[in-house]
Symmetry: C2
Amino acid sequence: MKPKPRQLYEARAKVAKALAHPSRLLILDALAEKEMCVCDLTDLVGADQSTVSKHLAVLKNAGIVADRKEGVMIFYSLKVACLRGFWSCVEGVLKQNLKEQQAVMRSS
Amino acid sequence: MKPKPRQLYEARAKVAKALAHPSRLLILDALAEKEMCVCDLTDLVGADQSTVSKHLAVLKNAGIVADRKEGVMIFYSLKVACLRGFWSCVEGVLKQNLKEQQAVMRSS
DNA sequence: CACATCCATGGCAACATGGCCATGGAGGCA
DNA sequence: TGCCTCCATGGCCATGTTGCCATGGATGTG
């Protein structure tokens, strides 16, 4: 296996960073259902509109979502289809972590 | 689709956060080949030993790696098998981003 | 035009992260 | 015991992230 350039890891890290916030993950989950405008997402997240707008900018900059203008509103949609499988994997990790914690509890 | 608890997104974000650093991704890629001690990983990353140790603590805390003690040394190994598929997905995103950038270049 | 809504951006304060250095514990060896 | 290596932790500083508020551009409506 040849060593990969540091640049690759930086590109990957940028995407992972965009995923590293609960509000952004909530947004992505909602967008997996249907495209939504910023106002809808602001209600959903329950934060300031400017805050949500910045979260969306992060996701867009990472290439995870796309935006579409329609009149005054801007609709965001999911651009990446392969996140679901990843999260089910992550959830597996989390469950395993819980199991191990419980094992420690029982043995003490 | 019922709304998921905010707690779930925080748990997911914790994992994503652990993946959001180039050095940690480099480490994970190396561990995908074979388990390694901290000294090996320190050489690989090229940072201070304490820095690498902290990165490993982050990965361990997220449940992504496991550690095994053997004499003076501590070997770290990958605990999660499903990362490869995720990165190929991410790489797809990155390539698409490039394509779009190039399209913008051509049209200007 | 006047006025409303929807959204993005800049500014700022609070907090988190990442790097190094210095230190110290744990284990192997003579 | 004394000394070495391997590793983790605390301290510290620089930098990045996240939230809000305030503002302003763009667009639709009367």
